[in-house]
């Protein structure tokens, strides 16, 4: 039996919805593994339910009543005869209690261990681990700050601007910047308050605030036999309120030498927790200096750009790793070909301060052609629900270099028709037409410019 004909699992439950559920199901189909979808009341007729071989209803429309119900998802896996669970991203994908529930039920979790998730879930703990492993972190503290007086002392020793971060911070919450001593009390108490409210942990630490860094992250794969490789980096600098909107690979500001160096840093970071599965080391790039920011212990939304430049199916690798197989790819065999860009097509109106637009889709026509990939969760006539993430599709293109990929993306955006909800299609077309984008800048000024955003109205 050749490697291609090994069936890693008989049946895999996909504990997610929308485009990522469909993305995972596609690879399961290629590998002749049966798929099980789960769905809420609102998703009864959704595309991921239709695409899967089996589907199990797990509860009401709000995620707390369905996609976040560990008990119902485990029960669905057992009743449908699944032998493993793929979590996708978001929802339960980084919840160590879910991993332990799988283990207790005798199901394979297609992802890292609960202990690796816990180690990386606390930002402060992750900083300590990285320092011990020799991985560069943004200059700052490794101990919790007790009170406003200690916060001021920390700020004075680091220099301004300084960032106060909750240990559980993520998604732009639990993060405040002080530009002067007079800002420190409010920044410290604000970060602690959000940490408590959103992550149940008021612990705060301080680090130097980098004003306009690039967000560069490295994709890694680690098997159960001690091999860890990286699949190069992605640049995700185009963000609004810490939400990524455009991602590309390779990163425009990373040389071959820097690529090799940050790849080694990412491998060291993954090894420090005995990490297994696909994961991402997120960092900040300030000039040529790369700093560890956090590790995401799951597949990421933007994984397709890495797949486009390397030819590696990251979901297939996750399945292979979870089944106990060694990595088939050595570091030297990981190729880097051309340039890929992903635009997140959210149901949001950029011209109205990114107002969500959960409105039923009318016409829906995807672009196609050489080097164009659409990972979508919707079809013509589908409802877009207010309970779920605004990401309805991802448009990904590949071409031989960044300029050609930009031209291909602009053409594909023009060929993408979605009527009904407001979407980010016109925003992306406007952004990728700017000189700032062509020059490979972060475009942070444009994303903060209300007048420019209003001018993108489709």
């Amino acid at each position: 039996m050749t490697e291609q004909h090994v069936r890693y699992f008989n049946r895999v439950l996909v504990a997610n919805r929308g485009e990522i559920a469909l993305r995972v199901i596609r690879t399961l189909q290629e590998l002749s593994i049966a798929s099980v979808a789960v769905y809420s009341d609102a998703d009864t007729d959704s595309a991921h339910v239709v695409a899967a071989d089996h589907a199990v209803h797990i509860g009401g429309s709000p995620v707390a009543e369905s996609y976040l119900r560990i008990d119902r998802i485990i029960e669905a896996a057992l009743s449908s005869g699944a032998d493993a669970i793929h979590p996708g991203y978001g929802l339960l994908s980084e919840n160590p209690d879910m991993v332990e529930a799988c283990e207790r039920a005798g199901l394979v979790w297609i992802g890292p261990s609960a202990s690796a998730m816990r180690a990386m879930g606390s930002k402060l703990n992750a900083r300590r681990l990285m320092i011990k492993a020799g991985v560069p972190v943004v200059p700052g503290g490794t101990e919790p700050i007790a009170d406003e007086e200690a916060a001021l002392a920390a700020a004075e020793s680091l220099g301004y601007p300084v960032a106060f971060k909750a240990s559980g911070a993520g998604g732009g919450k639990g993060f405040r910047v002080a530009h002067h001593a007079s800002d420190v009390p409010a920044a410290f108490t604000g970060a602690a308050g959000e940490g408590e409210r959103f992550f149940g942990d008021p612990t705060v630490y301080a680090e130097r605030y980098l004003a306009n860094p690039r967000h560069v992250e490295v994709q890694i794969l680690a098997d159960q036999h001690g091999s860890v490789i990286h699949l190069h980096e992605r640049d995700c600098s185009v963000q609004r309120r810490h939400q990524k909107l455009v991602e590309e690979a390779p990163a425009p500001a990373v040389s071959a030498e820097l690529r090799a160096a940050i790849g080694e840093i990412a491998i060291a970071a993954a090894r420090s927790t005995g990490y297994v599965s696909a994961g991402t080391i997120e960092g900040l790039l300030d000039g040529d200096q790369f700093y560890f920011l956090e590790m995401n212990t799951r597949i990421q939304v933007e994984h397709p750009v890495t797949e486009m430049i390397t030819g590696v199916d990251i979901v297939a690798e996750q399945l292979r790793i979870a089944a106990g197989h060694p990595l088939t790819l050595a570091q030297e065999a990981v190729r880097l070909s051309g340039h890929a860009i992903e635009c997140r097509i959210n149901a949001e109106n950029a011209a109205k301060n990114f107002l969500p637009s959960p409105v039923r889709i009318g016409d829906y026509r995807e672009p196609s052609g050489e080097g164009v990939r659409v990972d979508s969760g919707v079809r013509a006539g589908d409802a877009v629900h207010q309970w779920y993430d605004p990401l309805i599709a991802k448009l990904v293109v590949w071409a031989e270099d960044r300029d050609a990929a930009t031209d291909r993306m602009l053409a594909a955006l023009r060929d993408f028709t979605i009527s009904g909800p407001a979407t980010l299609l016109p925003f992306h077309a406007a952004l990728l037409s700017t000189d700032q984008w062509r020059r490979g800048e972060t475009c942070a000024d444009l994303l903060a410019d209300r007048a420019w955003l209003r001018s993108t109205a489709g």
Partner: protein, 72 residues
């Protein structure tokens, strides 16, 4: 002074009602917060005035253009 009804800009769930009937409010004050697609959407007063009626409760599902708050 003319009265004014503030409506929902998007289908959403009412997450938090911050204003109470009888409150005096200023243009730009946040009266309630809606939630849709994991985003918080503040509903602001569009003029100075007094909250005459709150037409929805926390947890309610609201449609686009549904009436939320009446100011006088």
């Amino acid at each position: 002074m003319s009265s004014c009804v503030i409506t929902a800009d998007t289908p959403a769930t009412v997450w938090k009602v911050l204003a109470g009937e009888g409150d005096t409010v200023s243009d730009g004050d946040t009266l309630m917060i809606l939630e849709a697609m994991k985003m918080e959407i503040p509903v602001e007063a569009e003029q100075d005035g007094v909250v005459a009626r709150i037409l929805v409760a926390e947890g309610d599902l609201v449609e686009m253009d549904q009436r939320l708050v009446e100011l006088v």
